[in-house]
Symmetry: D2
Subunit: 356 residues, 4 copies
């Protein structure tokens, strides 16, 4: 047995750090295996990628066109670059992933100026958009062209169809377009019990970064163009931004497995349910305060820093705000009730100062 | 059975179009499966990526540092961007993949000027480098900083250790660095029967784009820094160029399976052997002329255009040069003797004007 | 007399819109005329540019190196690009010119991410810097590398030497550098009655965008590197960002005329004095409220919108904030006491509803 | 008398290095002086820039729109960036200024891939264009979108109207556009004795970089859009590429002085005549070989390296090709017959080995 035939890690070990700590859902892995063997044209000319278009259209309407890419940062930058001329800017929440966690990729790789707006809950509204959506026609001001929203937001909140529609209508009335960072779009749809198109196509969104990795894929996100007028040269932008997968059949087969049946919904509902279970389990624990509405698969809470420190040694999770001590607990498709209960018990233990 | 549980394609179908038409080698797929389950830190903080460093160091020497990325274009652009200041340029062969087949990614995503040199066989030499390596200190000339060579070249030829060393010594004497596009580096090493480091570290190469996809990976290439002085901020460049894989354990596990034993060598030798078999099989066929030395896994040949057209309907392959009618036949890790023999027979048939 | 020998405009017409509405100071124009005739090496190899270095060193200390460029946006972008690696970010006030009025040039032409901070008065402090200066070593966060301050600020306020020093010390303690947008640096120095180096070199600033145009030049700003360790490849960055003047002698001759004697100080003091005169003249006018400290050559005030509208027809000036009706009156080197008094009289007239 | 009131250089000193070693033509300087005084709106809202549009339309036809910028590199990059989407490429001669002498600005500041073609004389033809104008619709190939030609070329040759038309017709038939680098367009028009529009608008050119500096301006070039469909967002591109002059009246006044009468033609004719005089004066000198057709204001010649070295100490000029010893002698608007005769005499002297 060569070294690599021994698993390098304990497959029982899980935490609440992020939904991308989880692995690949078994049905996704099966789809990958099935797509193997023989030769297929590369770069999206394979039968899996072609078939994938129908799958996306069933969810997003007859005009939808999906362009698989490698990761979420790329889905955002390829989307935004395709939606803007070089002198146009993007309005987003200050907390947007594209602003905070992508290392400057929109600016560095895309040359795109972001104009940020502080928000109470990670969500933009028409009047928040207006804080940056002005100066049209003034060459001294990078021209506001796209409003980018995240649903689920980085703060675990969700936009309803009506809220989404309000932002879209307002943006369109200004001659702007709407991009949706949907790294956790399925969690939002599951939380609201609405189809994906209720939060996107039907609400007026123009282009979606559709997330797969956090919902059980090995890798792969998709730029989904809902309004063909809204994005230009996506296939070229994808290539020049180094996101054209050679053996794309394996990305597309994963998405097909996620979306052709209800795997996307099962995974999202499950992760959301685990977050609610966790919030409920700590709700009455003295010393813990859940700080934000638990609308999808994340729980934000404040607890004493020393307790946080001890807990993090047992279950990995992130401190969201070093100043306030707010932490984030994310549930994934593979988080179990036992995981939640064990964690909640640990919270109680550590708060009592009892070491396990 | 849902639609996606039926394979969408015939796993027996193969061609000679490119080594990225092939799928995933079974040992690679097993490694992926083994790496699944449980939680692992994302973005390269997982145990697989950490273990991978040892594997790469065994091949490339104790200073080697490997940074997995998604695809070959990205490996090249991340390498070159890390090796150059914004005002520095890259000297490469006119036929280099980075110049011809990457959609302008170096310029668009990296802002990097390429300075190209015509070559007889895809290979640079010190005197060919000199055609562009001048004007040092002149602000009007993008400063030549990197020589980028490909081994195996896009024309199927290979650089020997001595030839590589000559280019490296010359570049270094000019204060320049050397990047090697190694999308098919294993094929070159197998062809010459030398270890990987003979063509890289020991020959003076500074940074390698190490290819995995064409040798049986599902996805994944690596920027391998051999000279730590030669590349700056690789981890940041990888992130801003959208190449930091979230679930990186699955890329690293594949590379480990490829490189810890001799899978890389078996796959490369096999593909090379198939190319030699094919070249031999058509060597005496009237109407076919093999146009270039068959040094790795590609065969270039000229045959009558109508024969090419009929053959391409039966076995996919590319016309390399529309003007001369030169075609390229690439063998992959999964090309079999039967595939080669069937193709050679088809060539004979079509040249005799006999339809099958 | 051909059409162009008739002046196209009335040289008596002046307003309070901006200090770049003014023309060229006669002493500057004389210097241009003197530099004409005969041949001089282009691109900064001329005797004027060489002599200029001594002039700048007298003001900024023996390590200062000045690189003339065409305009202020360019001085900022060339400075910031030379001070940062491609993955590094710049912290600045939300109101900074580089963020609000340069059309996105830092992002589009430089690929530089700005991280903005709201301020009460356009000035950063160590604790305001801290709102964005964190996440060092985290690849997901564009690395904070430069603090960029403006003195005079866009709100007409000035940093004292002590305030500047506090920001610089703090930035340096974080491993960051300080850039100063000095489009109106001379106005700040004149206001505080300190030499230029008190606000720059002696306070720890690393690189200055030194403004000339607003102080009476025809065109021309300079990137002045005070700390040679802080900026890399400025001469190459200037060229690739298209800021290397061909006939540079004419830029340098202007700067020499401005800086070798006290023209810079005379012009700045005069403009500042005119602003104070204006503020005083309207201080007791009912219906006018001066909204900000008048520290340099700008006056900010609120007055009834209809009065503003009528005044703007007589004397061009800008409404600074459409919501509050705040306006900005800028005095230039050529603003006269008569101009100020006439404008103040007009303010009185319009507020009385008396048309002139 | 302060130091700067003494001219720093000898206005009698001239050489043959480049037409940008010369200063400002007296009529241009007068126009600058006339435009001074009083306030004018900045950024092109002044009366001089508005009037300039008529002047350019008289030369280039009723659809022409001129956008003044600072220098020639910028005129090229602003033009090309406005003509291309981010994934599109530019075909040009290997010797094109934009490829050889702009420090990589198109790639670095514009993210634009250049595809170069070797030419015998610096001129593209339809069949030379075809060497790079292919691969339309292939995402792997940066899409050829613009053919960029220079007239006068960098080798001193000129395109006739018919040659220009042939390139334009061919480019348009391929769905491509044509950009003309006209840093020395007036010299070409003067040489051929045709109006400017014969070489541009009437020949099918879409966008021109119109040169002023080499013809006697202090600074200033213009992007002239002849086909409004061909360039998008020029005013925004100009701003984000840092080419929007604050006190633009002074650029526009110079162009008006150059173009409203026949100053452009006088200056160009004179420089061309001086080149012919020089070529004639050395034609029969043993040891000197004029290597290229003298069609505009440059003379290329080969002479013994030691003679070149001695001559360059007396009259600055450039060695064009270090390998062959070919030198370039450029005549400017201020080159006199005496200058030429003195230089020709010096050539004779040095060839005889007689020191002056």
């Amino acid at each position: 047995m060569t070294p690599s035939t021994i698993p390098r890690h304990d497959p029982a070990h899980k935490g609440l750090a992020s939904d991308n700590y989880a692995g690949v859902h078994p049905e996704i892995l099966e789809a990958i295996v099935r797509a193997n063997g023989g030769h297929q044209s590369p770069y999206g000319e394979d039968v899996y990628t072609q078939a994938l278009q129908d799958v996306f259209r069933r969810h997003f309407g007859p005009d939808a066109l999906a362009y698989p890419v490698f990761n979420g940062t790329a889905a955002n930058v390829v989307s935004l670059r395709s939606m803007t001329a070089p002198w146009e800017a993007v309005v987003c929440a200050e907390t947007a992933h594209v602003n905070t966690d992508e290392g400057g990729a929109p600016e560095v790789a895309g040359g795109i100026k972001l104009r940020t707006v502080p928000t109470p809950d990670g969500k933009l509204t028409p009047s928040l958009v207006d804080l940056q959506a002005w100066g049209f026609g003034d060459v001294h001001r990078a021209q506001p062209r796209v409003v980018s929203i995240s649903n689920t937001t980085e703060l675990g909140t969700v936009y309803t169809p009506e809220e989404t529609r309000a932002v879209c209508d307002h943006a369109h009335s200004l001659g702007m377009l709407v991009h949706l960072d949907g790294a956790r779009l399925c969690n939002a749809a599951a939380a609201l019990d609405v189809p994906l198109r209720a939060l996107t196509t039907d609400a007026g969104v123009d282009v979606v970064s559709f997330g797969g990795t956090k919902l059980g894929l090995m890798y792969g996100e998709a730029v989904v163009v809902l309004n063909p007028e809204a994005a230009r040269g996506v296939e070229y932008v994808r290539k020049t931004l180094m996101q054209l997968a050679s053996k794309m059949r394996f990305v597309s087969a994963q998405f097909e497995a996620l979306l052709e049946g209800d795997l996307w919904l099962r995974n999202a509902r499950h992760a959301n349910a685990m977050a609610r279970r966790l919030a409920a389990a700590v709700a009455d624990v003295p010393g813990v305060r859940v700080t934000r509405a638990v609308e999808a698969n994340g729980v934000f809470a404040v607890l004493p820093p020393d307790v946080t420190a001890r807990l993090q040694k047992r279950f990995p999770f992130y401190t969201w705000d070093e100043v306030t001590g707010e932490v984030r607990w994310m549930c994934a498709w593979d988080t179990t009730e036992e995981d939640v209960d064990a964690f909640a018990a640990a919270v109680r233990e550590e708060l009592r100062g009892v070491s396990p």
